[in-house]
């Protein structure tokens, strides 16, 4: 049983990796070329435009021609755009593996964002704590995001366990409540004015102006999710509960405790994404993250998680988010009319899942002697 559980997700990830490679190849071949402005590092460490001699003797900005998809800037952008949803999808996939669902992910993200933003604003240039060391404000903002998100996740879990109501209903309710709380505490206003150290950290540019911090956080969260699900016993219990709750109960697994943990972790992943996003965008509103619940569930499912529970992985969820983002970015790269984008995204997601299922089925068939 445990061998089967361990090996199945691996096959699914292989399928989704093939889908990603095919998409990448198509975008590289058909994306065409783009002229990007050329920058160089100045003596002050800042990036400056490079100029060259123009036809009339004047100086004109220099450009470099690159492949539209396969260039470092676009790949870093793709990773950044994927990261917020992917981080939440890791949490969502843990919930889905346990046989549950979390519809409050987008609202939880919004609430954690605005609470974190309100704390950060206190320590920003115009806030009462502006004289406090910047790292202290950033740390407190991060703690506020995590604490709120973790508590909201735990609330979801506690309500699911205590009321014995399907998580769909509970999280549908908390989806509205959390969004409402976010609106009430901000009065619908955008919150900004954070310590500059936060955006300097999250938007830190490596090498030729590449913002890789969101990618690094996504990798860390994926690794943590993988360790939890594949290497730790509480993670194995999540598969057991999702695979067959009754059998898990008879095996001595504390179902309630496992569910509480699962929803708390999903909440925490929302907190990480929220903190990252307010650092990147420099503001938060109660309207943030609308519809993200469906995006994270879609990412987890495309990545191989079964909505009936017992199957899925952290890496699969991240790869699922990457597939969806590649399609979305691909529409821009290929210059496809946006009126068709929803149809394309939906079709490719279904095609990716069908391909993935076929791959898993073939692999399973081959493994049977």
């Amino acid at each position: 049983m445990s061998l089967r559980l361990r090996s199945l997700p691996r096959f699914q990830e292989r399928g989704i990796i093939v889908v990603i490679l095919v998409l990448g190849l198509l975008l590289t071949v058909f994306g065409g070329k783009v002229r990007l402005p050329l920058f160089e590092r100045g003596p002050d460490g800042g990036r400056h435009r490079v100029f060259e001699a123009g036809p009339g003797g004047g100086r004109v900005p220099a450009f470099v021609v690159e492949n539209k998809f396969l260039n470092a800037h676009n790949l870093a952008q793709l990773a950044k755009d994927t990261s917020f949803i992917a981080i939440m999808a890791v949490g969502a996939s843990i919930v889905i593996i346990s046989g549950g669902i979390d519809l409050s992910a987008g609202s939880l993200y919004a609430l954690a964002s605005v609470v974190g933003a309100l704390v950060l604003r206190r320590y920003g240039p115009g806030g009462p704590g502006g004289a406090t060391p910047a790292w202290e404000g950033v740390l407190l903002g991060a703690c506020a995001c995590m604490a709120v998100a973790g508590a909201c996740g735990a609330l979801n879990g506690a309500l699911v366990v205590a009321l014995r109501v399907h998580p769909f209903v509970i999280t549908l309710g908390t989806m509205a409540i959390l969004r409402g709380v976010a609106f009430v505490i901000t009065a619908g206003q955008s919150v900004d004015g954070f310590p500059r150290a936060l955006s300097a950290l999250v938007r830190y540019q490596f090498g030729d102006g590449l913002t890789l911090f969101p990618l690094a956080v996504m990798v860390l969260v994926t690794a943590a999710g993988w360790i939890f699900l594949a290497r730790l016993s509480p993670g194995r219990r999540v598969y057991a509960v999702g695979g067959n709750e009754q059998a898990a109960r008879f095996s001595g697994i504390r179902i309630g405790r496992t569910k509480l943990l699962v929803y708390s972790l999903a909440g925490l992943s929302g907190g990480v994404a929220a903190f990252l996003s307010i650092g990147y965008y420099g503001a938060a509103t109660s309207g943030d993250g609308q519809g993200y619940e469906l995006s994270v569930i879609a990412a987890a499912v495309v990545g191989g998680a079964s909505l009936t529970g017992g199957r899925g992985s952290a890496l699969g969820a991240v790869l699922g988010a990457l597939v969806i983002q590649m399609i979305s970015s691909g529409i821009v790269i290929l210059g496809i009319d946006q009126n068709y984008s929803q149809i394309i995204i939906g079709s490719v997601v279904i095609a990716a899942v069908v391909f993935d299922q076929c791959n898993a089925w073939l692999a399973k068939k081959r493994s049977i002697p």
């Binding site: 990007l36 539209k68 952008q77 206003q189 919150v191 509103t285 309207g287 009319d337």
Partner: protein, 319 residues
Amino acid sequence: MKPLLASLILALLTVSCPGADDALRQITLGVVAKSQGNPVFQAARVGAEDAARDLGAKYHVSIRIDWRTPNEEDAQKQSEALEQLVLSGADGIAVSCSDANTLTAAINSAVDNGVPVATFDSDAPASKRFVTYGIDDYRCGEQVMEELARQLDGKGIIAVLAGNQNAPNLQRRMQGVVETARKYPGITVRGVYYHRETPQDAAARVEQVMEANPDINGWAMIGGWALFTENALQWRPGTVKCASVDALPAQLAYVRNGQVPVLLGQQCYQWGYQCVSLLVDKILLKKDPSAVRQVSALIPVTIDNVDAYAKNWDTWLHK
């Protein structure tokens, strides 16, 4: 078979031979509106495409409009769209900001990468955009309230239909309505009602509010969402007064049947047209606008001019 083959080869040669069009300089302008579902932005899109065609012919360039608008209002998605447009080689961008603070960094980054940015409808004042085009939102709120107060003879209980609570332009309009209402001692504002910016959600909110507050006899609509549906208003003409922003084709029926005596039309077609013109001036002619803030007026639409105004839409939504 042979003629068919010959035609195919001829067609391929025609396509592959460099013609006069290939010599044209190509300019790509990204346009990022707030949401796909809002018809005002579809008019802006037509305006942008018309300007691209007109100015392309005038300056002998090929101007392509790359429309990248989120399905629903989402400032973070808009920010992503801006970054993607810069990376895909856009020469200029026009954006209507769902949240100014969230978009400021992306606008600044685009400008730092040599891509000029114009805002329309909803501005990001702290950003490096070179121009903003749209109405004065506070004044718009004032105008809506003044029109409503005139219909009510300065006495009544009113409600404000306010759309998305996070949109800064709507917040300013709402502020304009509420503060102007204070000038009329006989008028009480029962409430400001927010909703998702879809016609159905807006119409449902009007219905709910009227059910719960049958004594309301005036509506100040700072956006026309509810009137994009056919049967949004359940009252008989004249029993409840109403003044609304926007004058889209679907809304004009309410003027004709007397339920909404006045609409204040935003020049949403011009959002697209003017922004593209300003961007082309900046990119091709290296010409900056006379002022960073380009204010467009609201056009009152009443029973007297509704038919004449309706004819504009044949041009503005001709696609």
